[in-house]
């Protein structure tokens, strides 16, 4: 019945548009390229056949540089606050077990995730400004031309853009797509779009290995890699699992507007608070588990001093051989394992494992030579691609009303992560990088 009603609604909409088109054709006299509004003028540039995509990439690069480079001092301020809290807890609590729990479990693990609030909020602020200005719809339009050539649907672009914030609402946003095949493709490739949860991992690795000058670019490269992979995967799916032409793309371009500061900040907050909520619940819980596993058995680890004797080291060493060809040690294996719950947990895990204060987490990665720029970049790519987080898997299951597709996403993404990271390492070594 509901399917019948849906078809009826579509038929009415179709007839309505046909009627509008016939009225417009018989009554509107089109000007000869005359520019009427500021929106028309700006569209002439931002939707330009040659400049549209380069300008979009410029805007994207500017956005990431803003989020990473400009937020750096605010990260330092939060680091210093957690440093003080960690030092205070170490001195004020006499019981070593409790002191370890508070300084390593709480301030070490959770603190190392909270320092990423400035870049994440910076990214959300930039996205809000772009949305409020009306440019985001143009970005979808500009990309549609490119995507359609690859056999993709233009409307896929909006859920993919939402995916930069969080893949869960992005997968839900595919409900607006009328073609089931287009919708399935968009849902399955969405986890390849880098959500904000993965940003802390990139910021940590890129900041430590590439330095402030190039970190923003390294992060941009990972985001770009996600987009390229999403497009390529969609193309493969279109030609194999979901054959056929994408349905036509209709998008209303709103007029440009000067973004209102208060509404942009409000949008930033409404997105950013999801990260804060997750940090206070899932990530906090996971860091406590990681702290427990890394400091116990208490006697064997000498009160958490010898992590090599801990439960987590046993787990890490058991799965280490899988990642050894990439040059990653058991800590990376454990971080990736716990990152299945939520990607931010990768950073929290490192925070606890290295026992480093937030300010020293990146330095600890470098000083212990856990990564080279090449293996670090491959690790970032792996985090981008491998298994979507639990919430995303749940969203795909709910939207497809089946566990078959989430299982498929899980398998293909894990396989893709190994392939892409392997290719990065191999290509890097081929040109002489270590």
């Amino acid at each position: 019945m509901s399917e019948y009603a849906e078809n009826l609604r579509s038929a009415f909409a179709q007839r309505r548009y046909e009627r509008i088109a016939s009225i417009v054709d018989s009554t509107v006299i089109k000007g000869r390229g005359e520019i009427f509004t500021l929106t028309d003028m700006l569209d002439q540039v931002f939707l330009n056949k040659h400049l549209g995509i380069p300008i979009f990439l410029t805007v994207l690069w500017t956005m990431f540089q803003f989020a990473f480079a400009v937020s750096e001092p605010f990260v330092v301020i939060i680091e210093k606050i957690f440093e003080m809290l960690g030092a205070w807890s170490g001195q004020a609590i006499s019981d070593p077990h409790l002191a370890s729990f508070v300084s390593l479990g709480i301030f070490g693990g959770l603190g190392s995730v909270l320092v990423f609030i400035p870049p994440i909020f910076g990214l959300f602020l930039a996205l809000s400004v772009l949305e409020d200005s009306g440019y985001m719809a143009r970005a979808a339009f500009v990309m549609d031309r490119f995507m359609y050539r690859l056999g993709l649907h233009g409307r896929s672009f909006i859920p993919l853009m939402i995916g930069f914030g969080c893949n869960v609402p992005a997968i839900m946003a595919t409900r607006s797509m009328d073609s089931e095949k287009d919708r399935m493709i968009t849902m399955l490739i969405n986890p390849l779009i880098s959500c904000s949860a993965r940003l802390p991992v990139y910021v940590l690795i890129a900041g430590a290995l590439f330095g402030a000058a190039y970190a923003g670019t390294a992060i941009f490269a990972v985001y770009a890699l996600g987009i390229v992979l999403a497009v390529a995967t969609a193309l493969i799916f279109r030609r194999t699992l979901f054959r056929g032409e994408p349905s036509p793309f209709v998008l209303e371009l709103p007029p440009y507007a000067v973004p209102d500061a208060s509404s942009s900040i409000l949008h930033m907050w409404s997105r950013g608070r999801m990260f804060l909520k997750k940090a206070g619940t899932i990530i906090f819980g996971m860091t406590i588990i990681v702290w427990f596993l890394s400091t116990h058995p208490w006697e064997e680890t000498s009160g958490g001093q010898v992590i090599a004797e801990s439960y987590i080291a046993w787990i890490g060493h058991a799965i280490e051989p899988v990642f050894q060809p990439f040059g990653w040690d058991w800590m990376a294996a454990v971080a990736l394992l716990f990152g299945l719950v939520a990607k931010e947990v990768v950073v929290g895990t490192y925070g606890v494992l290295l026992g480093a204060e937030e300010a020293g987490l990146g330095e600890a990665l470098v000083s212990q030579e856990l990564f080279t720029p090449l293996t670090g970049f491959a690790f970032m790519a792996f985090v981008l691609i491998y298994v979507p987080c639990v919430a995303t898997i749940g969203a795909i299951a709910k939207e497809t009303n089946s566990w078959r597709w989430p299982a498929f996403a899980l398998v293909y993404q894990t396989a893709l992560a190994f392939i892409v990271s392997g290719v990065i390492i191999a290509a890097g070594r081929l040109v002489g990088l270590s």
Binding site: G33, I35, W61, I77, F210
Partner: protein, 138 residues
């Protein structure tokens, strides 16, 4: 919109040409200063070239007194503000890092990048653009 006279158009076209060449030169200078092939350098060079191309694409239209020239000038100006503004914010962030004791020194001159200089050069266009588009709706 004020009528774009040929005289104004030529003047604006010359300005857009200078800015376009300026950004292009800045990209070349940046490329020369980065002998390594790290992609970061290439991307920042690419951004300068995009701004350059935006200005240069408007030159012909401006000289001919066409309005599409103003569109490209306006687009270029917006990109100049975005890119130059970003470099200004980054300089501010470096200054804050120095105040926080995270940087050994802060030299104002080394913070002034070509994108900031070109933004300053482009800013006199703002009043002209406002005048030309003052009666236009969004």
């Amino acid at each position: 919109m004020d009528k774009l006279s040929v005289k104004n158009g030529k003047w604006l076209g010359a300005y857009a040409f200078i800015l376009g060449i300026g950004y292009c030169a800045a990209a070349i200078v940046e490329a020369a200063g980065k002998p390594d092939i790290f992609p970061g350098g290439l991307l920042s060079i690419g951004v300068l070239l995009v701004v350059s191309a935006t200005y240069l694409m408007g030159v012909k239209g401006l000289i001919s007194g066409r309005r599409d020239g103003i569109s490209f000038l306006m687009g270029g100006l917006l990109l100049s503000v975005a890119v130059g503004g970003l470099y200004l914010l980054m300089a501010g962030a470096d200054w804050l890092m120095y105040l926080l004791g995270e940087a050994e020194d802060f030299a104002l001159l080394s913070e002034i990048s070509p994108a900031i200089i070109l933004l300053v050069i482009a800013l006199p266009l703002v009043p002209t653009m406002r005048r030309l588009t003052s009666k236009m709706a969004w």
